[in-house]
């Protein structure tokens, strides 16, 4: 997924990871690290590849939460908010489920 990142391409993966670790500590991340964090879609290829058995996928998940400001640190990547998310789900439910199903299932 890194090819979809708008961040500058990094020559060294270790340098990018250092930027991710900075984010996890609540510090500013490098553009390359924030780029990776922004596009990680949890393929999980990194998990068996990691020589230190760190679970990079979880690392990236936590980094994303942190970079979004979700853990109380300054926000560093764009929050793609969808204020209609839950109401849209409820609307589709109303279009397809019976009143009894809405009451009992949702």
């Amino acid at each position: 997924m890194t090819r979809y990142s708008r961040a500058p391409a990094a020559a060294d993966g270790k340098t990018v990871v250092a930027g991710v670790l900075a984010v996890l500590r609540g510090e500013p991340g490098s553009p390359e690290a924030l780029g990776w964090i922004s596009v990680c879609a949890r393929s999980g290829v990194c998990v068996p590849a990691c020589p230190d058995k760190v679970d990079p996928r979880m690392m990236m998940r936590l980094a994303r939460m942190t970079a979004l400001g979700g853990r109380g640190h300054p926000q560093q990547i764009e929050v793609r908010a969808d204020p209609d998310f839950f109401n849209r789900v409820r609307a589709f439910a109303k279009l397809q489920l019976s009143d009894a199903e809405l009451k009992d299932w949702t």
């Binding site: 949890r42 849209r88 949702t106």
Partner: protein, 287 residues
């Protein structure tokens, strides 16, 4: 005696009432007593990455509700919910249930499923696969095996693996979903298959626009299992998607009034009208 289970269908699959109903019928046929729950009041919280206070509250609330149902097995439909339960919810809250993923449960009971697959479905299909999630549940191996149990279905292997673990997470990344659409069209045209079959509902809703564009048939695997069992639930989401702007007539004024005309036009209709962004060379039917 049927085993009582909680069937946690999640949030976004509420776009596909036919899939939920089919899953329930399949589970009952396999000897389970499923209690279906989902929607925002049972949200796992995975959509709240930017607000961990809210995410944590949702997790505690939802686990508490599952515990209160006093059913020892929770069966998850959504890969996002399944992952979030394993990675976060169950680690931070006391769960009084064990979780199974639906694909695993159906596969474990495939001997009971086989005699129920009575209606042939003569289709050559490709299965839409992602790289991710397979280390948690081997969906890329199991779903094709389940489909091969359906008389008439021929599963063709293409080797294409989409990035991530499901398509909805790719939509927010510029270019990523366009590439998935392009690779899907390429694979269908190269193999001359009849249909593209998704494992997850998130992929189904992003890819069924290809059928709306006349490229290929698109199904979720549950659609084909259900059809072979003789289940007759209509795929309304696909019908609305194919109708696009005319979905208003299909849905009808009465149902639209339930959700509000303004909200329907602002928040639902654009999704139904949205089409894959294909290059000219990718358009046109595969067969």
């Amino acid at each position: 005696m049927s085993e009582p289970i909680t069937f946690w269908y999640g949030c976004n699959v509420l776009r596909h009432g036919d899939i939920i109903h089919s899953c329930l019928d399949i589970l009952r046929s396999l000897g389970f007593d499923p209690l279906p729950v989902g929607g925002p009041d049972y949200c796992c919280g995975t959509v709240k990455d930017a607000n961990q206070t809210a995410a944590g509250g949702m997790a505690t609330r939802t686990v508490g509700r599952f515990n209160a149902l006093q059913r020892g097995r929770l069966v998850a439909w959504c890969p996002s919910c399944h992952t979030h339960m394993n990675d976060f919810m169950a680690r931070a809250n006391d769960t009084q249930f064990a979780m199974t993923y639906l694909v695993d449960l159906i596969y474990a009971n495939r001997d009971k499923l086989a005699p129920l697959l009575v209606h042939p479905i003569p289709l050559r299909v490709l299965v839409h696969k992602h790289i991710g999630f397979n280390d948690q549940v081997e969906v890329n191996r199991i779903v094709p095996e389940l489909l091969r149990m359906i008389p008439g279905v021929e599963v063709i292997e293409d080797g294409y693996l989409a990035p991530g673990y499901m398509c909805a997470s790719l939509v927010a990344v510029p270019g990523a979903m366009d590439d998935v659409h392009a690779n899907t069209v390429r694979a269908v045209k190269a193999t001359q298959t009849d249909a593209w079959v998704t494992i997850f509902h998130q992929c189904y809703r992003e890819l069924c626009g290809l059928e709306a564009q006349g490229i290929t048939q698109v199904y979720n695997y549950i659609h084909l299992i259900g059809r072979s069992m003789g289940l007759a639930y209509e795929d309304e989401y696909k019908a609305w998607k194919k109708a696009g702007a005319n979905a208003v007539e299909l849905i009808g004024e009465e149902r639209i009034a339930k959700v509000g005309v303004q909200f329907f036009e602002r928040a639902l209709l654009p999704e139904l009208r949205k089409r894959p962004n294909l290059h000219d060379t990718e358009r046109g039917p595969a067969k």
